[in-house]
Symmetry: C2
């Protein structure tokens, strides 16, 4: 079990694309999209994961993640009602790594940046390309997006 403390932002510009970063394609679906107990199946590059998350308390929530065989993840994605497709770009600024998720398919046009923090009140420098914070806006949860894609907002 881990406790995940994350803040999430929209982006004010595309400047980050010119900065050094790595990218990996992610496909994920939800066996449960209930906010109190989400169950996510993910294929990240070639690796499969099964992840359980509890209710959000502010910007933190409990998380349990297990690596699973790629073939299991493929078969479980087929059980999910919707599959999210995105590219995750990792970009280092100071001690922190920003995860910039660029969505495809029905969520194309949406780009969000997340930072995982060691404590709820941890300080961090806001890069110039960072926009409005959406940590508390449930519409930007991936579980919500899988059911209500961005192109229908």
């Amino acid at each position: 079990m881990a406790t995940e403390i994350e803040r999430k932002f929209l982006l004010s510009s595309d400047i980050w694309r010119t900065l050094p970063h790595t990218s990996v394609r992610i496909a994920q679906g939800y066996l449960s999209a209930e906010p109190a107990r989400t169950v996510r199946v993910r294929i990240k590059g070639e690796a499969g994961f099964l992840t359980v998350k509890g209710q959000n308390h502010g910007i933190s929530r409990v998380e349990f993640e297990y690596p699973i065989p790629h073939t299991d993840a493929e078969a479980m994605l087929a059980l999910c009602p919707h599959v999210l497709d995105k590219t995750r770009h990792l970009l280092q600024t100071g001690p922190y790594v920003w995860e910039i998720d660029e969505f495809h398919g029905d969520n194309a046009g949406l780009v969000v940046a997340e930072i995982e923090l060691p404590a709820v009140d941890a300080e961090f420098t806001r890069p110039a390309w960072l926009g409005e914070e959406v940590s508390h806006d449930a519409r930007y949860y991936n579980s919500y997006l899988s059911q209500h894609p961005y192109n229908r907002w």
Copy 2:
């Protein structure tokens, strides 16, 4: 991934209790009780498991089961809306092992026997204590019982 082929029965008598068997206590809850994609957390004796099952097709369904730390299973049971409590008795007859589930708590009074078969049309001998078959009765799914306990039927 495995395909699970199971048949489930009520019991016509308690004679089985006098036959050699082993018993283990099981606590389980559902992160998803959707028949198309159930996600079960189970503590069986001291062992934890996370199990995903797909839709039933007749008496078979796909199943993915992963051993997880006991502490993870405890914490995830706390995320489940209901927790089923039962004792599983294992009883060998010929080549097959019967799993006899004796429910406690809100499902006390309910006892069902399950047999896992190698093929949908596999033959097996019905013990004298076996009652009505309920393989196709969704009320006897554990996921259903967790939401609609036997004492409220």
